[in-house]
């Protein structure tokens, strides 16, 4: 029984570490702010959540397990808000999108709004 729990915990642990690693590789490889946010905030979120889940499974309903679950839930609640705010601030302060980008309907709509106001 304990070995089964250990194996499941280790699987989640490995998956989490793998996703954190992929997130960091993405941070270095992808071009602009927005694409890097994809890699770091999301994949790293899943990675950290995986690690927390592994801790919770291994530690069970002890002090450490409960804390790990809480950290994981708060991470899932706050990470998207942070990503959204960084992306919005970047766009508003005029961070250029990568040259290979296909569309920017946000910029188009903003321009249209300014024109209609003047």
């Amino acid at each position: 029984m304990t070995t089964a729990i250990d194996i499941i915990g280790n699987v989640f642990f490995l998956a989490g570490i793998l996703f954190v690693f992929v997130g960091m590789v993405g941070l270095m490889r992808l071009p602009d702010v927005y694409n890097r946010l994809h890699a770091t905030t999301k994949i790293a979120t899943l990675g950290t959540f995986g690690v927390m889940l592994a801790i919770a499974i291994k530690a069970g309903f002890s002090t450490m397990g409960l804390k790990a679950i809480t950290v994981g839930i708060f991470l899932l609640l706050t990470a998207p808000v942070a990503a959204h705010m960084i992306a919005r601030a970047a766009h508003r302060s005029g961070a250029k999108m990568w040259t290979g980008s296909v569309t920017d309907e946000y910029e188009e709509d903003n321009k249209r709004e300014k024109e209609s106001q003047t």
């Binding site: 002090t63 980008s101 569309t103």
Partner: protein, 164 residues
């Protein structure tokens, strides 16, 4: 007032989790702290607007399906992004797309925006002033129509069922 107490008790449970000790005394300490926190932040939400508890209880199964779908979507999309990142040749077509949404309530718009941000490959950038569109940055914007349909059918449907 009733909502104050409900929020305070919820914060009390969170306190138990964070301090890692589930006892009645600890729960009471957390609830008292919760009342202080909610009292000091009361201007941020309208406690006058009473939400019937029955509605919340009836929605729990739908909210549970929503979170199950969310987990599956996050895992699927994470694997997709991992593939893009680890592929030797960087093959991405990023772009910002305006996605029309049907939700009207603040709660559901927030839920949709956060869900989109949480799903790897897409980030919410802004909501239009009239709350009819959200701007989404996608790592693969080569087919905007497909993205709109996938957000509408896969994510928004469940958000609407759970929160509207």
């Amino acid at each position: 007032m009733r909502q104050y107490i409900a929020y305070a008790l919820a914060l009390g449970i969170v306190w138990c989790f964070v301090s890692g000790e589930a006892s009645i005394l600890n729960f009471m300490v957390g609830s008292v702290l919760g009342i202080l926190i909610i009292w000091s932040l009361r201007k941020l939400y309208q406690p006058d607007e009473e939400v019937p508890y029955k509605n919340i209880l009836a929605r729990i199964p739908k909210i549970a399906t929503f979170f199950a779908i969310l987990t599956i979507e996050i895992t699927k999309a994470s694997i997709l992004i991992a593939k893009i990142v680890l592929w030797p040749k960087l093959d991405i077509k990023p772009g910002i797309i305006a996605v029309p949404i049907r939700a009207t309530k603040d709660v559901s718009i927030t839920a949709i925006a956060n869900t989109i941000s949480l799903t790897p490959g897409t980030i919410t950038i802004d909501v239009s002033d009239d709350l009819t569109k959200i701007y989404v940055h996608s790592i693969d914007a080569s087919d905007p129509e497909a993205l709109k349909v996938s957000i509408r059918d896969k994510l928004e449907k469940y958000v609407l069922e759970a929160f509207e």
